[in-house]
Each structure stands twice: as C-alpha cells, then as structure tokens.
C-alpha cells in the first residue's frame, strides 16, 4: 500500500468527547489511553474543538497541572486548594478546549499533511473532517511516523498507570513525549528513513528506542523485542572487547561518528558481518541526545560483494594459470640435457621468482576471503587437523624434532575449516622453518582452560628482535632474520593469520627472548564448552 492522502494515514476509530464532558473525565481519558489530544464533537459528530494535553498544562489555561493531578490521584487536597479544585471539577471540556483547531480535509495530500505537522510544532493530533466539518478520523504525529516507518511509536510513558502518576512524571511525560516526537519528526525531515536502510536509535546509554523495518529484517528481532534493551544483549558482543571500547569512546566521549565492520549474531544464531555507522546526535548545548546507527543499503553491499567475488576469480584464474604455466615450462626446461650448469642456475632463479609470485597470489586470495559473509562452516576436530599439519610440516622439515601435547578430550570446532588450517599451518610451518638450524625443536600444546582453548607453538630458533616485535603482524614486514631464512616469503603470512584470528575473535600473540626461543599463542574463546 502506498497511501497518498490523509484518509489513508488517519486513525478511523476515534475516541471523542463532547463539550459537556467534565475536565476530570476528559483528563482521565487522555492519560489512560495516552492520547495526546481528544477531538470534541457535538451530537451530529461535527467537530467543535480539540482538547489536548497542552491545553491542560498550559499556564494560561484555567487550570494547572499539580491541581489536576491531585484530582486524578483522588488525594485529599491541601486546604488552600479546595476552592480551586471545586472550581476545576465544575469545568467542562467546552471551557478549556481549543475551539478553532487546525484540521485536515480527508483528501489532503501527504505533502499537506506533513507540512501541517512540521510547520506547527505543538499541534498534535490533527482532526480530519469532511466537507460538512464532520469528524472522520484523526492523524497524530505517531500516525505519521508509523506511516513512514511502519512501526508503532514507543513512548517512554508506556509503563506508567494513570492512577499512580507522580507530579513530575506527568510533566516529564508530556515534555518527553513532545520532545521525542519532535526528534522523530526531525529525523523524518532529515530524510534518512529510507526503507532499504537499516536504522537504529538509542538513548545516550545505548538503550534502544527505535528501530525500523529494515533493521528487523537484518537482525531477525521484532521491534517489540528490542525496545528498551541494549544492543550487546541482542546481536552484539561478538567482537573483541577492545572494539567496543573504541566504539564507545568514539561516540560517547569524543562524540564523533564511528564507522567499522562488526560481526553480529541474528536472532536465529547466524553470524553476519555488517558495516556499521554510528553517530551521536547532539543538542544545541553539545550534549548527546541519542545515538543513531545506520547500516548501508543491501543492494549497494551486494554490488560490492559481487565485485569482490569477481576480483577473486580474476586473480585466481587469470594469474594462477600463467604462473603454473611458467613454472611447469621451467621444469621441463631444467630437465633438458642440453642445458649448461650456469644456465640451469639461471633457470632455477626464474623458478624461485615465479614461485614467490605464486605464493603471493595464494596469500592474496586467502586475504580476500577473510570475513566473507558466505564463508562455509563445518564441524571438525582441531586436534586431528593439527596432527595432519604436523605430518606435512615434518616431511618438509625432516631435521626438526616435533612434540605435540593435548589434553582435555573433545576439540571440535564449528567454523570455516580452511581459515583455521591457514592459521595453524602457518604457525607450525613458521616454527619449523625458524627453529634452530642444527637441532631444530618445535613443541606444540593444545589444552582447555576455563574461558576457552589455548594453543602454544614453541620453536628453539633465534629470538625475534625487540625492534621487530611491534611490527611482526604488519603486512609486508619481513625481519632480517626472516629474509635470511625464508627467501621467498611474501611478508603476508602473519598478517593474514592475525586478520583471520581477529575475524574469529581469537587471540594471537607471542613471546620471544634470547636463548628462550619463540612461542606463539592462540586463544580460542569457547563459551559453552
């Protein structure tokens, strides 16, 4: 449905009052139903005025809020107020109502309707009448918002009972609902409620006060389920704590927008990666009014994804095929009996260079796959995978002694296996290659701890120099030692596995000291083991 006129947006079942209704009854109706205003009609349903919250609390009107509240609470009034209360209880709606309210015709266009609300800040709701001034419906700001967002408005007073209203609560309620609605109107005017774009609004304390349909679609939660809750208790909380600290510091303390990619979990448990933009919206005094989170349009993301897939495929095939071709032809050439020893060496150099290039392409392909949302998952036993890797590394490094200790039974993981293998193969290959040249040793351990699994990978080779320690996980960093030991390294290995670990939310770090070799550690946080 695509409503174009007031008639389509308005609420048709309208609660009305007559000019003879007592103010007390009308007030009860207002607060009990959390109406912002009640249309006043005569016996023939012709609109004669409107009574709004604003009329009741207006300082210039015949009553004032504290007195009214006393009536509502049926509390024995103070002596001095007695007369006043008697006067108030005699008041009728006709005395207080706005008898010349702004109205909309049922065929008013959407534009006229929006204009009515945005040009008259305090007007809410607006009665809709036919040509005979007969009331046919009513449009409130919340109807407008509902129309734009397809969401019921959630007002902060929803849990309050009219009978228990505190004085401050009523004042606060009226102000707050007005403010909130105005803020929402501001948002509408900022034109950011496109239905394709997932949007979330929270209080400065990260309590959710608004989410649109696209957000529901994205997370699988309905708005009712998430209002009043904290994002970390719903889809969030699956990234390293550091990220959330950064995020919070950026938006709350620095009051600056945050942009980043986060891993969230849908209601049904599926993980997804999402670019998130969170911006604090400030008031005139520079205080945070609320936070607004926007996730970019899906179609746009799809395009990017497609581009990435194509890119991978282009690199994968277009580069790898000729690389393999060069390397195989060189092999043929090197077997030729007519080749001089000198030429053989040159051919070998070409082969090495080509191998380096092939390694680089392989690394690039792994990198481009990290964090892909369609990464396949499978169930596998980490310990047996490590066993397999050790076997392979042993073949390539026959002079190195290996030990592998693991305790604690079952190590089955449910995640993307190739990525996991990438991490452990890289660490174990590195350990073997960088271990002592004459009496290489690699000691591995996999064990369970209270908060997760713990893997350590020791080698007895030269230590990592102090100056290199901070750079070891950077891309294209190759220490002098590494250049000596592994001539054709790409400088991407540790960077890649660090990226994978970050992506999985795993810890990866190392210790290295002179005479004590080097140990790399992996921490896999397993919540329900």
């Amino acid at each position: 449905m695509n409503p174009k006129i007031a008639k389509d947006i308005m609420t048709k079942e309208v609660v009305t009052i007559s000019p003879d209704t007592s103010i007390s009854d009308a007030s009860k109706l207002l607060y009990k139903n959390r109406f912002n205003g009640l249309p006043v009609v005569d016996k023939n349903k012709v609109l004669v005025g409107i009574l709004t919250e604003y009329d009741l609390v207006n300082i210039d009107s015949a009553t004032h809020l504290p007195t009214l509240q006393r009536i509502l609470r049926h509390v024995a009034p103070d002596d001095g107020a007695k007369e006043e209360i008697e006067a108030i209880s005699k008041l009728k709606v006709g005395n207080l109502m706005n008898s010349d309210p702004m109205t909309l015709r049922e065929y008013a266009t959407l534009e006229e309707t929006i204009a009515a609300f945005s040009q008259h800040h305090k007007v809410n709701p607006i009665p809709v009448v036919d040509e005979n001034k007969k009331l046919v419906g009513i449009i409130s700001r919340s109807d407008m918002i509902k129309f734009f967002t397809e969401l019921p408005p959630t007002l902060p007073e929803s849990e309050l009972q009219w009978t228990n209203l505190k004085e401050s609560a009523i004042t606060g309620l009226v102000e707050k609902s007005m403010d909130l609605l105005e803020e929402r109107m501001d948002l509408l005017q900022m034109n950011i409620l496109s239905s394709e774009q997932a949007m979330l609004i929270t209080t400065p304390d990260a309590e959710i006060i608004f989410a649109n349909k696209a957000w529901e679609k994205l997370t699988g939660y309905t708005t009712e389920e998430i209002i009043g809750k904290h994002p970390n208790d719903l889809w969030g909380g699956h990234m390293p704590e550091r990220l959330y600290r950064d995020l919070w510091n950026t938006i709350k303390n620095e009051k600056k927008p945050f942009a980043g990619e986060v891993k969230n979990v849908k209601k049904d448990g599926t993980e997804y990666w999402q670019e998130t933009y969170i911006t604090p919206v400030l008031d005139e005094a520079g205080n945070i009014k609320f936070f607004m989170a926007i996730e970019p349009e899906i179609t746009d993301k799809k395009k990017k994804e497609q581009f990435r897939e194509e890119f991978i495929s282009i690199i994968g095939h277009q580069l790898r095929n000729p690389l393999a071709g060069i390397s195989w032809i060189i092999e043929l050439l090197s077997r030729s009996p007519n080749l001089s020893e000198d030429d053989k060496k040159k051919v070998e150099e070409i082969y090495k260079q080509n191998k380096g290039l092939a390694n680089f392409v392989a690394d690039l392909l792994v990198l481009s796959r990290i964090g892909r949302k369609d990464m396949s998952k499978e169930d596998f036993d980490l310990r047996s995978e490590i066993d397999l890797i050790i076997k392979e590394v042993k073949v390539a490094n026959p002079g190195v002694e290996f030990s592998f200790q693991s305790e604690g039974g079952d190590f089955s993981l449910m995640t993307n296996k190739p990525m996991v293998i990438q991490v452990f193969a890289n660490l174990i290959y590195n350990a073997a290659e960088y271990s002592d040249r004459d009496a290489g040793r690699v000691d591995l351990e996999l064990k369970k701890e209270s908060d997760g699994w713990f893997f350590s990978c020791y080698n007895n080779g030269p230590e990592i120099k102090e100056a290199d320690k901070s750079k070891i996980f950077s891309k294209f960093f190759r220490s002098d030692t590494a250049q000596k030991i592994k001539e054709k390294g790409t400088g991407l290995g540790l960077f890649i596995i660090k990226t994978i670990c970050d992506n999985f939310g795993w810890g990866l770090w190392f210790e290295s000291a002179s005479g004590q070799g080097t140990t790399f550690y992996v921490k896999i946080p397993i919540v329900n083991s």
């Binding site: 095929n321 092999e331 396949s376 296996k417």
Partner: protein, 137 residues
C-alpha cells in the same frame, strides 16, 4: 563411438594407463603432456568440456585430469553429467584447477573427487606422483 575403437586398441598396449587431460591453456597442456608421457602414460588431450565428455564416455580413460574453467561446458558440470553414467560413477578424477574456493572444493568432494590440486601450488613432478598414487588405489 566406433571412431575410437581402433585407437583404443592401439594405444592401450604399450602404456601404463590412459589419462584424459582436459585443459584449455596450450602451454599448460604442453608441459603436462610431456611430463606425463615421459612416465610411460598415454595421454589424450581435450580443450573444452563438451568434447572432453564425449571422449571420456567413449574411451573410458583410467584417469581424468579435469580443469574447471573450460569453454563450452564447465568442469563441474562435466563431472555431474559423468557421474550419471554407469561407467562415470566410479571413474577416477583429479581436479587440477586455478580455483581454490572452499565452496568449489567441497562441491567437488560431494561428487566423489577428493584430489583437488590448485595449479600454482603444484610442480609437474608433484602432479606425476599424485597420478601414480591414483593408479595404485
């Protein structure tokens, strides 16, 4: 079908086995064919998926070396069709491709292919030893 009968009888005799090599790229074929032949295998070459399929079904090679990105019919499609034939169900296949996407690798394994070699990771020597291993199975 009869077209190949003579050739079949002719080639089987001296060779250690027949390998159908499906590879579009000429220089890759050149180097592989030479390496494989030098080991005493008979090699039949195919450049596209369609002709490769008809050769496979008529000549029943002992091993198929299959690339995935091929003209006319992709390698994965070829494999699926092949598996529908009685002979093709158990035919030995090694995939030799530039692709290494985990999704493709796992699709291949559901089609009974566990040897998935990424071209640029393998030397011709390594490929030969893989082929020999396959003939021992």
């Amino acid at each position: 079908m009869t077209r190949y009968n003579i050739a079949e009888g002719h080639v089987r005799e001296p060779s250690r086995g027949t390998i159908l090599l499906i590879e579009e790229d000429g220089s890759l074929r050149l180097s592989l064919v030479e390496a494989i032949r030098s080991e005493g295998f008979m090699v039949i070459e195919a450049e596209d998926g369609e002709s490769a399929l008809s050769i496979a079904l008529s000549r029943h090679p002992d091993l198929i070396m299959l690339d995935l990105l091929l003209p006319k019919m992709g390698g994965m499609q070829l494999l699926k069709i092949l598996r529908q034939y009685e002979w093709g169900k158990t035919a030995r296949v090694i995939i030799l491709s530039a692709l290494s996407d985990p999704a493709i690798v796992s699709e291949a394994s559901t089609l009974g292919v566990t040897d998935f070699l990424v071209k640029s990771d393998w030397s011709t020597e390594g490929i030969i030893s893989k082929i020999k291993q396959k003939f021992l199975e």
